[in-house]
Symmetry: C2
Subunit: 259 residues, 2 copies
Amino acid sequence: RTRIVAIANQKGGVGKTTTAINLSTALADTGLRVLVVDLDPQGNASTGLGIPAASRNQTSFELMAGEEDLASLVLPTSIDRLSVIASTTDLASADLEFFGREKRSFLLRDSLRRPALADLAFDLVLIDCPPSLNLLTVNAMVAADAVLVPLQAEFFALEGLSQLMLTIREVRRTANPKLRIDGVVLTMVDTRNNLAQQVETDARETLGDLVFSTVIPRNVRISEAPSHAMPVLRYDRTSRGSEAYRRLASEYLSRIGHI
Amino acid sequence: RTRIVAIANQKGGVGKTTTAINLSTALADTGLRVLVVDLDPQGNASTGLGIPAASRNQTSFELMAGEEDLASLVLPTSIDRLSVIASTTDLASADLEFFGREKRSFLLRDSLRRPALADLAFDLVLIDCPPSLNLLTVNAMVAADAVLVPLQAEFFALEGLSQLMLTIREVRRTANPKLRIDGVVLTMVDTRNNLAQQVETDARETLGDLVFSTVIPRNVRISEAPSHAMPVLRYDRTSRGSEAYRRLASEYLSRIGHI
Ligand SMILES: Nc1ncnc2c1ncn2[C@@H]1O[C@H](COP(=O)(O)OP(=O)(O)OP(=O)(O)O)[C@@H](O)[C@H]1O
Ligand SMILES: Nc1ncnc2c1ncn2[C@@H]1O[C@H](COP(=O)(O)OP(=O)(O)OP(=O)(O)O)[C@@H](O)[C@H]1O
Ligand SMILES: [Mg+2]
Ligand SMILES: [Mg+2]
């Protein structure tokens, strides 16, 4: 069975998209068949995986709406075994468009389970969420088996964590009883400054084993890669950023057992 | 007359809250009476200005709803001439709560113009927006005289700019004809790396004079200040971050003329 993971955190700029792009690439490199669903109207994951604007006619908006031939939404990338369902700014109107639908929180869950997608036999689906706890993020959490939480090593990012945990608990109570947390991954950690070390200590004290031992360092090659429309694992394979995401992929696999 | 400015950018983590907190402090330090409206359910501006959770009974949610005695929403801060209307996660349900209201895009505009607030005679109101182009950000743009856009010196941040400009144009066309752009301020600029310089060059080429000449450098003292519940201009007055925000304040005042 396909494992569906929502990469979520309502705090902005914490590394959700960067983790979706690079963790999916690292996992595909281990031999798994991976699908990234870009559920953010900004479309950053689509850009970072090299999907030009002209190829985004059929997107995650159509996936939510459930109308189309779903298999045609799946686009190949330059990475073996890695595909993507792209997004455009059309998705920004999802809250209003789908407001009246009775099962509006289950739209994504139902679409991802339809035979057209199930038959593509992905091992893993990673959903890149927008920076809010709106209908899109709720749909991702209802559809998912688990949530992966990127946590920037900053004070404001730590402040928002309790709200995120409350939302996960609420979704588990009302719509998706099996939703678990695959873990919290510290991002943009600048080992030279005290604040990052303090946030790391705080996070490990409050969240314990939920926090991956792999930490993603701040690394300029990671932020350069999107302008070359590729993951850092292709832009600069030996960079500290690439090494960290490869380590995260292997720690992730050993945490969740087989897929 | 009070000048109302929305600090907006749907890209997450670009420095909206940091700019709201520190620019408002620097402007208050020049002698102006300033109000910060925290319109983000994350409540980071409220935290960064020292408002404890226990004091957030009356918030910007009530401001949007327009019910309460508006003057009671205004809280003092430790900074002379600087007040704040705080926020809590209640605001996250604004999209759904106010969906059915006929003039849902004008709720904030109408509240800010009521005599109870107008009589407080602020020179400037700065609205900290959430990382999306939802009802809250649209309300801020409809209420505002101008938008101030923080732009992180990163590729993904540049990608989102055209969408933000389209939204501003749309609000100007449909609801607020006088809405202008006070400027774009480059944030978290790491002068040691090429990417930041490339983004700055790109931004100045495409946006010209809209881009402030003052640039906010990446400065760890800025990110440490919120954990001490104060602006960097109080946490470390001589830091490069404080100097940059003082320069931004004086450039801002010379750009918009008198207030
Ligand atoms: N480890 C890292 N080192 C350096 N830069 C990074 C790192 N991780 C992410 N970045 C950069 O930081 C910025 C924010 O990251 P990203 O866009 O992935 O966050 P996000 O949580 O998806 O943001 P949003 O909330 O807008 O969706 C991007 O410009 C990205 O290139
Ligand atoms: N110039 C700077 N130097 C170093 N750190 C900074 C700087 N500006 C902001 N930060 C830090 O970067 C993070 C993101 O900034 P901030 O929270 O202000 O962005 P935002 O746009 O308000 O985010 P959101 O989209 O979540 O509302 C914060 O942890 C902040 O402390
Ligand atoms: Mg993102
Ligand atoms: Mg903010």
